[in-house]
Symmetry: C2
Subunit: 431 residues, 2 copies
Amino acid sequence: MSENKIPYKIYLSEDEMPKAWYNMRADMKNKPAPLLNPGTGKPLTAEELSPIFCEELVKQELDDNTAFIEIPEEIRNFYKMYRPSPLVRAYCLEEKLQTPAKIYYKFEGNNTSGSHKLNSAIAQAYYAKKQGLKGVTTETGAGQWGTALSMACSYFDLDCKVYMVKVSYEQKPFRREVMRTYGATVTPSPSETTEVGKKILAAHPGTTGSLGCAISEAVEVATKNPGYRYVLGSVLNQVLLHQSVIGLETKAALDKYGIKPDIVIGCAGGGSNLGGLIAPFMGEKLRGEADYRIIAVEPASCPSFTRGKFAYDFCDTGMICPLAKMYTLGSDFIPSANHAGGLRFHGMSTTLSQLYHDGYMEARSVEQTSVFDEALKCKETGEEKTIVFGLTGTGYFDLVAYQKFHDGEMTDEIPTDEQIAEALAKLPQIG
Amino acid sequence: MSENKIPYKIYLSEDEMPKAWYNMRADMKNKPAPLLNPGTGKPLTAEELSPIFCEELVKQELDDNTAFIEIPEEIRNFYKMYRPSPLVRAYCLEEKLQTPAKIYYKFEGNNTSGSHKLNSAIAQAYYAKKQGLKGVTTETGAGQWGTALSMACSYFDLDCKVYMVKVSYEQKPFRREVMRTYGATVTPSPSETTEVGKKILAAHPGTTGSLGCAISEAVEVATKNPGYRYVLGSVLNQVLLHQSVIGLETKAALDKYGIKPDIVIGCAGGGSNLGGLIAPFMGEKLRGEADYRIIAVEPASCPSFTRGKFAYDFCDTGMICPLAKMYTLGSDFIPSANHAGGLRFHGMSTTLSQLYHDGYMEARSVEQTSVFDEALKCKETGEEKTIVFGLTGTGYFDLVAYQKFHDGEMTDEIPTDEQIAEALAKLPQIG
């Protein structure tokens, strides 16, 4: 089909939606390093993981070899409420930028929860329900994951306890209203409701929290309450697996029009959207079938890829979770209280960390104030290339940030080298 | 095509989008009554209207005979950024409700401004630009129209001055951030920036405003500033014309699958979404080609159709605007300060008023607390019919209302018969 026939929005039909998730790990020569038991320093077994995670999700977490895992029909039907999501050809942006580049973005904001997080939330809720659980616990940063999980739990009639990073809880009061509307309980973290929360508050009085703190609290509650498991919206292999639906749809839509992207760009907090978007492209790259430039963009205030260390570390601040080998700033690292409450995790997906370490992708860090400036300026000229990026959701709940920016009150507090070195000095001595 | 082949979301292709708007008035035997000059009591001419409205829009406003008016290519291209919008088969809702009814909704929230208002905003901005104007003024209630117009003006590089009903300005601070982001100026109404605003504040100290007040202010600013015109997001014939794109797409999507709806339901503030959604169905009904039940749903706190009078009235509180024959509660009527800031207009589209008066549609009023209750209960059983309703946008900016509802602080202040009689007693003595 000729270039000028490409519509503004490419929609697959519901029949063309993927029927299986794609597991990048199956095609990786160097598999991501296994999660370790913090007590023994040995790889965690399925038995050890099942008090924390649902059984089926443990299987997916540990499966480094199956390339395609079927999406259960119930999940596919739920997906049909908001998927396939559009792959948008950004004609208007190209014109405004006066760039010869062809820009596409995969937009994941067109669902009630407002972000891509729903893709994994519904899968995790489904497996929890299937296992006969009463409910799940989780953490949320910006609130996207908590919102998505609340919606998914409400659909399957599961209880949902959300620990929300305190800075987001305060900056985004409406997020908690959405979660309340779906019937979830929302607690600002760190809180006095858990042992680990009390400990963190004692060590860091007045802290505005981090995903690492909230994870510790949610895990404690899940393991202490019968019939509950913990679920996580990013970082984990299982999450990247579920999110591969983003990339699979993107690739199918591009293929339909014979388009081969040169560059694939995704934002990286813990890696859920990035890992999902790039999955099939990375697969081709890993199998030597095609080449793409793959670029991770992360916030300068929490630069795991670009300034962190590839090492085993705790996933949480309370150091009660498994150890993961990942690019990390140290589990003690608490980012400044800027608006990017969702991107305040000290680490990064083990799969993406391994791929970055092995040279399959690039990474860049960007300051949020300059992102705003660029958005307002939009005056650069681009390359004559085909670029695909992931737009993970709407900014409708982040308007405090716009207000601060307009009022000149937005700052970036980029960690100093000394701050990062100090946090990294506390890494566990493993591997 | 068999019933069970109907997808969750029916998307037309961009080629199938309407190339002309449909003007219901062309098929009405009883045309809507003309706008009158408040000074002379005579129908307003194009010459009299052009200091207020753009020339092309005046033509559209007064044209009762042309059934189809071409959508300019620039507008169609802009539409392609977010249209066609999905017609969603609400399978999950049907299941939750355990109803044999087949429920479809046309969802207009999938654009950056978050509502259907963009359909008319881009058209009005286009005609203003084409006329070589510097900018436009307007009012906004809930903020949907102001957001849409700000976005449209930014696209065409037009200045945009928005008067925002004070209760919404205060309850929805994020709305003004979106408008500011698009470069618009937002002033809470009534304000001290206009003569009419000062007068209203003197007469109603402490008033939280209404669309009628904000219209008066915006019109005053437009007529006093060279190179400016006033634009309006609802009520007017031109707006219903532009919004017909909603109904035309809905009908085309239904026709594609051979579906004939029994009932078409839309919410009614000033009539823009309702009038757009029902347009082609009403057209068939007017021409005697098909029959549909068409139901307008309006807020109990501002019940123009169900408790108002069909009479000539001012469109604004300041009584400086043309007189329109419509179902009205009286231009002096200021609804209680509930959350429905966008639905606080005392009147109703003249076209829809005439159609309601002539028995072509039904109307019901609903209390907002009971709407919430029903949404939470969702336990009724429906009829075995095909129902289509319009979902005009997202509730992402209305979360204060959710918060109030959860906290038990939401009230409905339904006007008493005495209050309505008092406001109606002040109707101008015309027609």
